[in-house]
Structures are given as C-alpha cells and as structure tokens.
C-alpha cells in the first residue's frame, strides 16, 4: 500500500545510524511483465496544490486497467465512470496532503499489469492558472497576473505566449520546469518589450538539467510578451512544462546541496543574498527532497531541493582557499559541503585520521542538482598529493585511499572548469576511521509477476569492512514478500528478489513503496551509504528524456503472471565443509509452456564462499535437483545462492529469478559436534 508522506523526525527515529534505507535496485535483468508496463508521457493537471482535490490526466501508453496515480502527496483514483479497458488517457482525482512542501515529487501510474517509471510533478503554492487557447499565438497571448504558475505542453514548431503588464523598474522573474520533470522539452524563454523588440533571452540555467529561468527588471512600462518554446522547435506528448512567474526573484539555491537529517537548509538568491527561511520536506534519505522558502509579500514560495543524508554534514567555513586555512572536519561527519561562490574558487578541508584504515571520499554534485564537475584531491599534512579524482565512469569524483597512519590529511575540491556562483555547490560523502558499505543501483521500479518473482541487482561495495550483510525489506506492501537474506563477505552482486502472491485481481495490497534495510550483523559501527545511479541519458535529443532526479524509497507492484515461475525447497539450509546438499527447484508452468527451463547462477560463482560450488542444469519437467557442495576447506559463514531460470518458446524468452537460497557453510568439526548432540538430545 502506498505510504503517506513521512515526517522527518519519525523517519530519523526509525532509521538509526547503522542502517540505511535504500532502495536502489531496479534495473532488472528480467524483462518485467511482458513489456506492458504503463508508460507516462505526461500528466496534465491544472495545478498540484497541496490541501486541494485535484484532477490529473495521464497520457502515455499501456494505460489500460489503471488502478491509481500514486504521489507522496496522496493517491489519486481513476475518475468514476472512466473506461479503463482501453489504452487511452486516464483521468484521476484525489486529495493532496495539506502540509506538503512545495517542490518536485514523483508520480507513478499503477495498473493491474504493472507500475510505471517515475514521472515528476510540482506541488505548487503559487496561484495556478489554466492554460488557455490565447497562449497559442503571439496575438493576443494569454494575459497573466503575477505571481502565478501555469502548466501545459508544446507541439512541434509551436510556442506559448503570455502577456504580462509591467511598470518600468518592476521585477519579473520566471522559471520553467521541464527537463527536471522528465519532459523532453528543452525550454527557452524570450521576452519582448512593448515595442516588440527582444529584451531577454533565457536558455540553460546551471544545475537545472537544461531548464530556463531569469530575473529581469523592466525598462519600459507596458505589455510584455513572454514566449516559451523548445530550443529546437520540437514538441510532442512528452514536451510538457510548468512555468512559474513572479514579481520577485524566484530562483534560489541551497547553500549546501546535502544536509544531515535534522539540519536546516539555508537558501540564497542567484546574487548570493540570503533568501529567508527554508522548509525541507521529509525524506526517506539519500534523495532530492523539496526545499521551499516563502516569497516576501507575495503568495507562494521559491523552491529548490537538497539531498538529506543520515548523519552530520560539515559545512565549509570561509576563508578556506588554502591548505593553511582548511576547514577542520569533525570525526563524526558523514559528508562535507560547500560552494564555489566565484569563478576560480577552491576549498580546502582538514581531516584527522585516528589510525590506519580506509578513507573514502565520494563527490555529490550532479546527483544533487548541482552543475559542478568536482575534482577532489587528497594531500598529506606536508602537502604531498596522494590522490586525485575527477569522474568515476559516469559518476562524480571518488577517492578510496588506504590511510597509512594517524594524522591530518587535506582535501582540496575545485570545479573542473573553474566556474562559480550561487548554483555551484557541492558535497563530498566522507568515510574515515570506520567501515562503509556502499550500495549502488539505478533507481527505478519493480514489477513482479503474480505467483512469481522479480529481481534486480544491487552492487555492494565494502570499504574497510569485509563481513556479511543482512538485507531485508521494510514496509513492503502486504501482497509482496521478500525473504531477508544474509549475503556472504565476497558477495558484491546481489540480486534482490521480491515475490508477489499468486492470484486474484491486483489490489492496493499489491503495490507501493518500500525500503531495503542493510545492516552488518556483527558490526554496528559500519556505515552504509547509498549511491543512486540515475537513469542513463538519452543518446540524443530525439529520445525521451529522463531527469537525473532519484528517490530514496522504492516502488513495486504486482503484474500479470508469466509463463512459469520458480521456487525452491528448502530456502534455508546448512552445508558443512566437505559435504554436498541438494535443493529442489520447482516450477509452476502455465498451460502450454512445456519447454525446458535452464537453471543457472544469477550472480558470479566466484562470489560464493570459497570452495562452494553449485551444480544446476536443465529442467525438463517441473522439478530439478540442484547440488550445493562445500569443499573440505570451504569458507565458513553465510552466503546466498542466487539462481535464475531461462526458457524460450517461439519468440518469447524469459529469464526469471529463483527466490534466494540462504546457506550457511559450517565447519566440519562444528557440524559433527552438532550432529552428535542431536542424537544425545533425542
């Protein structure tokens, strides 16, 4: 069942320091359902105003059998009387929570055949205005009274035109949300003065994924015409926008893109001046959450976003442009944050290591909505460079360094192109003097076939900690299950598998958000951090655009059952060194699916405990014996065997997961002793 928007304090109580809520897995190897997942191209809504009942129309594909439009602000249901049997736009209606912080939130479509990717909406507290036909042409253009917000979309080779009456000296500010909402529109704004001449042109704002914004002071009194269009004059169903206009500066930036739970966010205007109080929306952690700040003397708020992390974020203290003036960072900080206020700025920080161990520095910029391309450099106390990083593949900079001894270490950060300004902020996740588990996964959703399972891969990286990890789902919808597992110390590729109950219509119990808790069973001091991997960028501007924005919780839903499903008996077992045990992989097949199922490992075999081997094979009927053998010197301890079954008939090919098999490799002596005890007890 979808959860309501949690409050910040309760969230913090729920998740202590040693655990992490992360849901990240969900670029799934299994082709979810049968390619019928609903796709949202855009959501038309006059305004997502907290505390009101809204009606929204979803356009896209595979929208038949719609059940709900989920947002953290509330769940909308199909409007009564809608024909849900066809693949056509669906209108939803529902009430939104009154205390939602204005800003960007995800929205997902739920159908009986699966859930969609996130689309994004803006919870708005400016007066919302419906788009009218007058906006279709320069003459007349839609007259607007400020402040206001208006949403719409563009077709190819069209513009939207808005008229605003201004007095000379009056401020006009505008910002377009398009790319940040996953729209394919690359907006530009053009303002024409009363004489028809162009007075302003706004294209890309830093850190806005290509969206536009401006702040301008009118030079003449009269009617000004604002044109909004795509930079390439393209358009279509996915070219939607949300335009905000006001007589005061709208654009703000968080002074630090990352804050710790319970910490306040400071926001500034583009010129660096303080923008007033800021309210941070509640967060599941490690996601961009809205931050708003009221516009003085006007209805509505300025909006931006920050990433909330579990722990203390240490802020830079200027001046810190040299090693000598480096900002000291306390031992309990989980991240440091700052900004490059002007071009060419660079910042220094001082860390104090208590002893030899691992140091991990991971930059957060683009994932946190900052345009900075961060370069992180590590020095010893004498100033000798130890390491430097710009990018790590598609991700921001990261340094993993084996600290040889206790002492001070210096970290310098700079912008690769030397840029600066209010928007040029950064954060660096920090791990020092403790172990860390870093879990990465591209964030998306999981559609689980009825009676079967789906899985997606978590990549688990241990830094300064080499032990097993426990993974369990929290607040899973009632219709879905996930067996808690304890993965072995070598297991870094972890297919996380959820199972959906076998029959009946999809109900609210079969879908919703959930979190994954990861803990180190034997070490509370191990810190878990989450690295979200945003969706890959489109290859070109003609492909649908996806915002880099990610969530900290996850979404799953039941989907129609597939041609077969797999399970094992047992799911938990022990195997002693030198022994071989068997499990049965059992298949449930739909009628007609009589082809063999090839059962194999779904994760690298060399990640199992040393000396453990798994022999699977081809399942011609509905049962296959799989042997798990532990060599005489097999490594003891827990690990999980992840299997999958692949089957093909005609043009349909399926690769489906088997629910994980938890095994415990025991030492032979211990196993013998246990075996002796048993007869004695009997």
């Amino acid at each position: 069942m979808a959860d309501s928007l949690p409050k910040t304090d309760s969230l913090r109580r729920f998740f202590g320091r040693s655990i992490i809520a992360c849901l990240l897995l969900v670029r799934f190897v299994t082709p979810n359902a049968s390619g019928q997942d609903p796709v949202i191209n855009r959501i038309d809504c006059a305004g997502w105003v907290p505390g009101t009942t809204v009606t929204a129309t979803v356009r896209g594909s595979s929208l038949q059998s719609a059940l709900a439009l989920w947002t953290p602000l509330g769940v909308l249901r199909p409007v009564e009387g809608s024909d849900l049997s066809k693949d056509q736009p669906v209108s939803f209606s529902g009430a939104l929570s009154a205390d939602a912080v204005p800003g960007i939130y995800p929205a997902r479509m739920v159908t009986s055949h699966g859930v969609s990717e996130s689309s994004w909406i803006v919870a708005e507290d400016l007066p919302v205005v419906a788009l009218t036909a007058a906006a279709d042409a320069r003459d007349p253009g839609q007259e607007l009274t400020l402040p206001c917000a208006v949403s719409g979309h563009l077709t190819a080779v069209t513009s939207r035109f808005f008229r605003v009456q201004l007095e000379a000296g009056q401020t006009l500010s505008g910002e377009v949300y398009a790319r940040r909402l996953g729209s394919s529109l690359d907006p530009v704004l053009r303002l024409l003065g009363p004489d028809g001449g162009e007075v302003l042109y706004s294209d890309d704002q830093p850190g806005a994924e290509g969206d536009s914004g401006f702040l301008w002071i009118a030079k003449q009194t009269g009617s000004h015409l604002l044109e909004l269009r795509d930079v390439r004059y393209s358009g279509g169903e996915r070219h939607h926008f949300h335009l905000r206009l006001a007589h005061a500066a709208l654009e703000i930036n968080a002074v630090h893109p990352v804050i710790g739970t319970g910490q306040s966010a400071a926001v500034v205007l583009q010129n660096g001046a303080a923008a007033g109080d800021a309210v941070v929306a509640a967060s599941a952690g490690h996601e961009l959450v809205p931050v708003s700040s009221p516009i003085p003397d006007a209805q509505g708020s300025r909006i931006t976003a920050v990433v909330v992390v579990d722990g203390i974020v240490a802020a830079e203290q200027e001046p810190n442009q040299t090693a000598e003036t480096a900002t000291p960072i306390s031992a309990d900080a989980v991240a440091l944050a700052g900004g490059f206020s002007e071009a060419g700025d660079e910042d220094w920080f001082r860390l104090s290591a208590a002893g030899a161990g691992k140091l991990l520095l991971t930059a957060r910029t683009r994932d946190a909505g900052s345009p900075v391309d961060l370069v992180v450099t590590l020095f010893d106390a004498a100033g000798k460079q130890l390491a430097e990083s710009d990018d790590t593949g598609p991700r921001d900079a990261e340094i993993e360094f084996a600290v040889p001894a206790a002492g001070d270490y210096l970290v310098r950060v700079r912008e690769l192109a030397g840029r600066g300004g209010a928007a040029w902020t950064y954060a660096v996740d920090l791990t020092l003097d403790r172990g860390t588990v870093v879990v990465t996964t591209p964030a998306d959703r999981l559609n689980i076939p009825r009676g079967g399972s789906s899985s997606g891969v978590l990549t688990v990286r241990r830094v300064g900690y080499g032990g097993p990890l426990k993974l369990e789902a929290v607040q899973l919808p009632a219709g879905l299950t996930m067996q808690p597992i304890v993965v072995g110390s070598r297991q870094s590729t972890v297919p996380l598998t959820l199972t959906a109950a076998g029959s009946g219509d999809v109900t609210d119990a079969d879908w919703g958000t959930f979190r994954v808790r990861i803990s180190a069973p034997d070490n509370d001091a191990v810190q878990q951090t989450l690295q979200l991997v945003p969706p890959p960028p489109p290859k070109n501007a003609d492909e649908p655009f996806r915002s880099r924005r990610t969530r900290g919780d996850f979404f799953a839903g039941a989907a129609p059952g597939l041609e077969f499903s797999l399970r094992t008996e047992p799911t938990v077992l022990k195997v002693a060194q030198g022994e071989t045990v068997s499990i049965k992989v059992l298949a449930t097949r739909s009628e007609g699916w009589t082809v063999p199922v090839e059962v194999s490992l779904a994760a690298p075999a060399d990640q199992l405990n040393p000396g453990v081997t798994v022999t699977a094979g081809s399942m011609a009927e509905n049962e296959l014996e799989v042997k798990i053998a532990a060599a005489a010197d097999a490594g003891p301890g827990p690990c999980v065997v992840f299997l999958q079954g692949k089957s093909k008939k005609d043009k349909t090919e399926r690769t489906l997961p088997v629910p994980p098999i938890q095994i415990e490799v025991t030492e032979k002596a211990a196993a013998e002793a246990a075996a002796q005890e048993q007869p004695a007890q009997q």
Partner: protein
C-alpha cells in the same frame, strides 16, 4: 626550358632589346652587388645592372651592358655573370651608352678543393629540376620505385635513397655520365618525367660533380644555409622595360654570402603578367603586378614586379576621396592607370548594402522610403548603413556567415547544439562583441557546450590536428595544412611550426555530461605532441615568435589566444579585416581571404594595414569596420565599368558583380513571390539565412552552392554557375510553385483588384528595389495583354524578372 633554347631566345631577345634600348637615355648606371667576393673554383656571381634606377624609366641593363675584366686570370664575365678563374683581385667594368661603372672582385681559395655540398647544393639541384616535387619522386610512394623526400625536407632519407638503394644501381661514380640519375632526366633513356636537365646546366653540373666525387656527404661543421634574399626589391617597370634579371643571395652559418641564383627555383604569382625563366629572368606578359617567389631548399624570398603600360588616352579624373580607403585605393589605381567607375545610384546602394548587411532584399516600403528621402545622398546612405547594422537581420545574416566558417552543423554539434551555438553567434554580432574577445572566448572556452556555447568550438574540433588547421585558417588567415607532413613547399611554415602550434591544443579534454547532446570541455593536465618526423616533443610555438614555456597547470590555449589577439600580432587583425572587406566588397585584399602567404601578397598592402589599424583602434568592432568600409567611395562605386577598368578584377576600381548566394536567392524569391519557404522543423516564415543547419536534401540550396559546413573555408560555398542552377530558375519547382501559388503575391494582388500597371510596379519594387522604367513597363503590359490568361501572363512577367541578371546578381 632547355638551356640551349634559352640561350637562343635570349640572344634573339638581345637583338630585339638592343633595338628597343637603343633609344633609351641612360643617365645613370647602378650595379648590384657593388663588390663581389668569390670563394673557391666554383665561385660565381650574377650581376644586376640597372639603368636610371631612381627614375620612372628604370630598366634592367644586365644583358645590354658591355663588360670587361681587368684580369681574366682572376675573374671572367659574360652576360652579367662573373666566374672565378684564380686567386686575386680584379675589376669588372660595365658600360652602357655614356655611362660606366665598375665592380671590384676578389677571388680566394681557388686552389682549394670545393666539393659539392650535399645538403645545400645536391638537394637544391634536385628541387630546381623538379625531381623531388610531389607529382614525381617526391610523392609519398615515389615514382618508378625511386622515392625522394618532398622538396628535400628529409635529407637523411634522400641520402639513403641516392647512395644505398638497390645496390646503388642508379649511379656510376667511375663514369658519372652513365649514371641513370643523370641519363634519365637528360632523356638519354626513357623517363616518365621527361627532360628535367640540360647538359651543363647548373643542376646537371652539380649532380654530375657530386657523383664523380663519390657521392660524399660534407663533414660536420660545413656551413648551413640560414636565409636567402631575392633582389631587386619591388620594382615598377614601364613600357620598354620588359625584362628583369633577378639575383638570389644566400647567407650561410659562417657568415658567408653567396650567389645561389643558379640553383634557385622561381615561381610567379601571375603568368599572365610576368613569366620567369629558370635562370631568374622575368619577362613581361601583360599589365599589372606579379609576385616572384624564389625557393632555395626550405628558404623563401619574394619580390614584386609591376608592369605598367602607358595608356595614351588615360587621364586621371581625380575622383573625390571621401575616406582614407579612397585615398589608398585611388593611389594604386592612379599608379596602374586604372580609372575608377562612377558612384553607384541610390537604388543600387540600397540593394547592395541591404544584401551585404542583412542578406535580404530591401522591402518595397524600404525602397520607396529611401528613394523619397530628401537628405543628402551621402548622409542618407550612412544612415541606412547604421539602421541596417542595428537591425536583428544583420545579426541573423552575419551569424550565418560565422556559422559557415565555424562548421555549425548538427553532425558536429548535435541537433541541440546548433541552435544554442547559433543563438550565441547571433548575440555576438547583435551586441558587436569585440572580435578579439569573441575569438579569445572561442579558443579558451571550457564547460558544458550547452551552458557555454562557445565551448562548442572544441566539440567541433575533435583533436589538436583539426584545431591547428582550423584555427590557423580562420584566425591567422594561413593555410598551414601542407606543413603537417612536410615543411610547406611554398611558404615559410615548417612541420615544427605545425606541431608546435598543435601543442597549444593538445590538452583539450572532452567528456559526456549526462545530458543528451551535451559535452564538457576541460583542460587536461597532461598531453604532449610529438613531431612525427623528428620524434621531438613539441613546446607551444607561436608563429614567427618561437617556442614558449607554459607553466604546469596553465591552459596552453590561453597563451596562444593571448598572443593571437594582441594588437601586435601580425596575423589576426589583418586576417579579420581582410575577411570583412572581402565579404562586402566581393574580393579580399588578399584573395582567397584565408590564404595569406608571401607568394600571395595583398593587392594593396597599405589599404590592408589601414583596415587592420581601424579594427584594432576601434577595439575590434566589426560594426565600426563595416561602417568605415561602406562609407567609402570605393564601396559605393558602380559596377558599370569603363574602358580603363574593364579588365580590373583586383584593385577595386568598380563594384564586383556577384550572384546572390543560395540563401539570399531563395529568400529573395520568397519575398518577391510573397510565399515563404517551409523548412522542416522550423516555424513558418523562417528565412534561409536564419537556418541553423543546412537542411538535408534541399535541392535549391544545394544547387546554388550552400555549404554543408564541413570546412572552415569560404571556399566551401560554391560560387560557380552551372546548368543545374539555370534549370532551377527557368523551370524548377521552387520558382514555379511559388509563382503559381494561390497564396502568393501575384494571385493576391489580382484578387485585390490591382491593375496590371500596379502589379508591375510592385514586382519591380520588390525584386529590383526600383521603379519600373517606361520601356520595361510597356513590354510587360504588351505581354500581359497579348496573353490569353491574365494570371499566367503576369506570372510570366514575374518569372522574367526573377530570371534577369539584375535580380540574380548583386551589383
């Protein structure tokens, strides 16, 4: 040309010349060099004897003078060439008419061996005779299995080839005359390259002696060639002075200066004006200026010879010199006896200026208003220029020009990038961004190409090689491409220059940003350029200044860009000024506008320097320079020629007639017919000059030469006329459909009830920016009345106007 034939020709010429010069009053004789030092038994010196050196009737008297030596045992002279005969001193007496002059000669080292020097003589001989040119044995694969380095740029390779290849079968040191290396170019045996040597010509003698001496390489420490100088300095020769001997002196590393004329290769920039023989004799072929290029090994020197012909009827009309441009151009014209045309009409000026600055025709309203203005013509023209420069149309058009040169197409910059980059260029022109800042920003840009469109320059140029060639051509006006593989054959640029410049651009990094079609340009901390031939790691080299050390961590591009745009830089301001001049006048002062080289000098160096000074003095304002050029009488001259400038294509004595470019023409047809062209993906009414990307498959634009923006060269825009163009205009769908359309002007005017006269008036005003002449109207009316279908007949009149030269050409 064979030596023997040359001698016969010269002899004949001597007789002819003698008869011409018989009437030459010789008031003064000068000789160059004034004294001669010969070293060794092969010492030689070509003399230059000049009659009346400082007068208008200056003549080369080298072959006319009579020579005598005071001691033939020391030095001999014939035909103006002194040869050593023994150690000692002698005096050469030179006499012509009543005038006499003498030259002291000293010979030393005659009794010492003077073996042929491989590096400074053999290679020069091979180059002069053309053996190692690119079309022959200097090609990468050689010819006939015999490969030499192109123009001797790789002496070690040549040495191995000549001495060691194929067991040395090409030479016979015991019987040098039997060497294939000699017999083939003498055509004693079949030779695909034809005759390249004559017996005992200088090249033959050097090669033969070198073979006979055992093909030795000179010892280390043998003086090397440092430079050459061509004499005389630029000279203007009038009627009767048809011949000019040249002398080339080479300066060597030991300080010695020797005559290297015999082994120097000569070229002329215009054979229709001046021809040149292998021995360095320039002869008149026509009227005008020619640059003579002397090449010896990899050194070059130039001089200019001007041939003037007295025009008896010519009388300088002393046209008004409104600006400094006029003064400088008219000074040249007067010298060359070229009469400038009259001033163009207001109508012509309106059309010309509008096309040059905005790429479009004047609207009928603009044409009518301009004609009606009562202010002084010069003032209203100046005001028109100001209005056009301040218009967005100017920014649209001139950002298109920059887009052509900067290769703004969607393949290079992506479909999003072309829009953003073009917008930025539009703002650059609209806001008159100083051109030094503009270029500096391009060359040093970093960051996201979508946030900072200037960085797209480095998205387009993907490596340092492309960057060198593009940057040099665009902003230095130098085509340095040839120096990539070898020292430039006709210019002073070396491979070291090429790769040294590349070192400035080597460290440009590029990476994706996570946004579609966006790229991040940044400076890397490492990356070096290796000269492929020498293996040397190159420092950043600034042309004509040398290598510079760049501190670690500094952006080498900044060093280069700072040097490029400083006012003292000899390339940038002149190159940009020349380009702007060429855009509006139709031809560069250096032409092609991006081909500055010693062998392609400016047709008016003083004018070019003045324009460069105006540009730098105005803070690199292109608007200021345009205003300055268009305020000149030179710019406003008529395209109608007179008998004294009919054959002038170089010196700006009249306006250049040139066909409208592809985009101008299409837009012009659209504006006359009232039917805009619909371009895919662009709003209706978008003009062709406003397109951000050459549209794929647009037949009309392609036929009329629209460039695809793959080259940073004005030359990519084809200006040649061809049959396809004619067919497009006569019978093509673009013209036909627009004329025939119900939504077009003609049909609309007819429906509005306009009379034939009114429609004809409107057509002429729209197409030609002028009222129709009575005769033209009469012809058009007659055609309409004779036709069975009024609409078709009116269309015919419009068609005829569109197909007229007055419409198709800018004039």
């Amino acid at each position: 040309m064979k030596t023997s034939s040359m001698l016969r020709l010269l002899s004949a010429g001597f007789i002819v010349l003698g008869s011409v010069y018989a009437d030459l009053p010789v008031r003064e004789l000068t000789v160059f060099p004034a004294n001669v030092q010969l070293d060794g038994p092969r010492g030689i010196q070509q003399l230059l004897v000049t009659a009346n050196a400082d007068a208008a009737d200056i003549h080369d008297a080298t072959v006319l003078a009579e020579y005598a030596t005071s001691d033939a045992a020391v030095a001999e002279i014939s035909d103006g060439v002194i040869r050593a005969r023994g150690n000692g001193s002698a005096t050469i007496s030179i006499r012509l008419g009543e005038q006499q002059i003498s030259v002291p000669v000293t010979v030393s080292g005659f009794d010492q061996a003077a073996p042929v020097v491989f590096h400074t003589e053999v290679l020069a001989a091979l180059t002069k005779s053309g053996c190692n040119m690119g079309a022959c044995h200097g090609s990468p694969s050689g010819k006939g299995g015999f490969r030499l380095s192109l123009r001797g740029y790789d002496p070690p390779l040549d040495l191995v080839t000549l001495r060691g290849e194929f067991f040395n079968r090409r030479v016979n040191v015991l019987k040098p005359d039997e060497s294939l290396l000699l017999r083939k170019p003498l055509m004693e045996v079949a030779h695909g390259g034809g005759r390249r040597l004559d017996y005992n010509d200088p090249s033959h003698m050097v090669l033969r002696q070198w073979i006979a001496e055992g093909m030795k390489v000179e010892p280390e420490g043998t003086p090397e060639l440092q430079s050459i100088k061509l004499f005389p300095s630029p000279r203007v020769l009038r009627d009767g002075a048809d011949r000019q001997q040249l002398v080339v002196l080479g300066t060597f590393s030991d300080g010695a200066v020797r005559d290297v004329t015999a082994l120097t290769a000569f070229d002329t920039s215009d054979e229709s004006i001046a021809a040149i023989t292998p021995s360095g004799v320039v002869t008149r072929e026509g009227r005008g200026e020619a640059t003579i290029l002397a090449r010896y090994l990899d050194r070059m020197s130039t001089t200019q010879i001007s041939y003037l012909t007295e025009r008896k009827e010519f009388e300088w009309t002393n046209p008004a010199e409104e600006t400094q441009i006029d003064k400088l151009v008219f000074a040249k014209l007067r010298q060359l006896q070229i009469q400038p045309s009259e001033l163009c009409s207001d109508t012509d000026f309106l059309r010309r200026a509008t096309l040059d600055l905005t790429g479009r025709l004047p609207t009928p309203e603009e044409a009518a208003a301009f004609a009606a203005e009562q202010t002084d013509s010069a003032q209203k023209r100046a005001q028109l220029v100001d209005r056009l420069l301040d218009s967005d149309d100017h920014a649209v058009y001139w950002s298109m020009k920059w887009s052509d040169l900067l290769r703004v197409n969607s393949k290079r910059l992506s479909s999003t990038g072309v829009h953003k980059f073009r917008r930025w260029l539009f703002e650059v022109v609209r806001d008159d961004m100083p051109l030094d800042q503009f270029v500096h920003r391009l060359l040093t840009a970093t960051g996201n190409t979508q946030l900072n469109p200037a960085a797209a320059y480095w998205k387009s140029s993907r490596d340092e090689i492309d960057a060198v060639e593009t940057t040099a051509q665009l902003f230095l006006g130098v085509r340095i491409q040839c120096a990539k593989c070898h020292n430039h054959p006709f210019e002073k640029w070396t491979q070291d220059d090429y790769y040294g410049m590349a070192a400035a651009f080597k460290r440009v990094g590029r990476k994706p940003t996570g946004l579609p079609e966006d790229e991040f340009i940044f400076v890397q901390s490492s990356g070096e350029v290796t000269q492929p031939r020498t293996g040397q790691t190159m420092k950043v080299r600034l042309l004509l200044e040398g290598d510079v050390d760049v501190a670690a961590g500094d952006d080498r591009r900044v060093i280069f860009a700072d040097w490029l745009v400083k006012p003292e830089n000899p390339f940038f301001a002149r190159s940009v000024a020349n380009r702007i001049w060429g855009h509006v006048v139709g031809r560069g002062i250096v032409d092609p506008v991006d081909d500055f080289r010693d062998s392609n000098p400016p047709s008016n160096p003083e004018l070019l320097n003045y324009l460069a000074e105006e540009l730098t003095g105005s803070g690199y304002s292109s608007r200021h320079l345009l205003r300055t050029i268009m305020a000149s009488r030179v710019y406003q001259l008529s395209s109608r020629r007179n008998q004294f400038n009919n054959d002038d294509e170089i010196y700006f004595s009249h306006a250049t007639t040139r066909m409208l470019t592809a985009e101008q023409l299409l837009d012009a047809i659209c504006s006359v017919t009232g039917l805009p062209e619909q371009f895919a993906g662009m709003p209706g009414g978008t003009r062709a000059v406003a397109l951000v990307d050459p549209p794929e498959g647009h037949k009309f634009l392609q036929v009329f030469g629209q460039p695809q923006r793959e080259l940073p060269c004005e030359c990519e825009r084809s200006t040649d006329s061809n049959l396809s163009q004619a067919l497009q205009l006569i019978n093509g769908p673009t013209v036909h459909d627009k004329l025939r359309s119900d939504a077009g002007n003609i049909h609309r005017w007819i429906q509005e009830g306009r009379s034939d006269e009114q429609i004809i008036d409107s057509l002429y005003l729209a197409a030609l920016s002028r009222p129709v002449l009575p005769g033209e109207k009469e012809t058009a009316l007659a055609h309409i009345k004779a036709g069975e279908d009024r609409v078709r007949s009116v269309e015919d009149v419009a068609w005829a106007i569109i197909n007229s030269k007055e419409f198709l050409f800018q004039h």
